[in-house]
Amino acid sequence: MTLSSGQIWVLIIACAVLTAVIKGVGPVLLGGRVLPGWFDRVVVLMAPALLSALVVTAVLADGCTWSVGAHTVGVAVAGVMLWRRLPLVLCVAVAVVLTALLRMWW
């Protein structure tokens, strides 16, 4: 199914409203209150858990199946470079070029 132009506009606007509401709710919900220590500890751990899940699903999954592709290799090499504290821009460039080169050969 290909979406019509009207459907895409509905999607874009709804997505923008949804994003604004999600971003706005957090600060309003708890603004000005002092939070208990356990809450801070959970929130601090939210970022590594979600970011890791985002990366893993982007490079090792294709829809509902596990998959490995040229970009898996490109991102893995960039990951090692990032771990060695090389600059982000360089790492992204290497990931892109390596992925593109591997796709030429595969």
């Binding site: 957090g26 858990a49 992204v92 892109v96």
Partner: protein, 207 residues
Amino acid sequence: MPFALVGFVLSLSFAVLARQAGFSVAQAIVTSVIVFAGSAQFAMLSVVAGGGGVPAALAASGLMNSRFLAMGIALAPSLPGGPMKRAAQGQAVVDASWAIANRGDGTFDRWLLFGTTAPQYLTWTLGSAVGAVFGEALGDPDRLGLDAIYPTFFLALLIAEMRDRTTRWVGVGGGLLALALVPVAPPGVPVLAASAVALVGLARRPA
């Protein structure tokens, strides 16, 4: 600002992929201008490109955005003003800015948050404009490796977050849980479920 530069390329790749999925030039640009949430845009786009409808695409972007709820709650005590003002300031939350403004002790530097987001918004908009207008001249975005940009960016944020033993184990646990759920849950859900791993913070003190 390396994040602003990478954001430009990331946003460019978004617009190129969006054009491929049937978005018009205006639609690809407007998405980045009014949504301005990279992972939500990519999540929504991957559903559309995979043949999904509007509700599925919205659900995917909403789930992907759920972390902003957590980030906003964490940020809440650091924002002054009434509800409307705080909600407006919460719009400045994007992954990189949130991570940079995080002082690591539960408080945030809100001016650093705004100051980091502003250039990213500019390059995010510009990137999509360039990608949408000139994308077709580039050819097949997969052949160019543009799909490797987005995961590399999030990997950089992840490595910055893995400061101690607890955050490292939570990162590994979240990744493994998401991976395990991929074959059994609809797209978007594995990422949301991974956030449950953060609940170990209830039991453990940070290392």
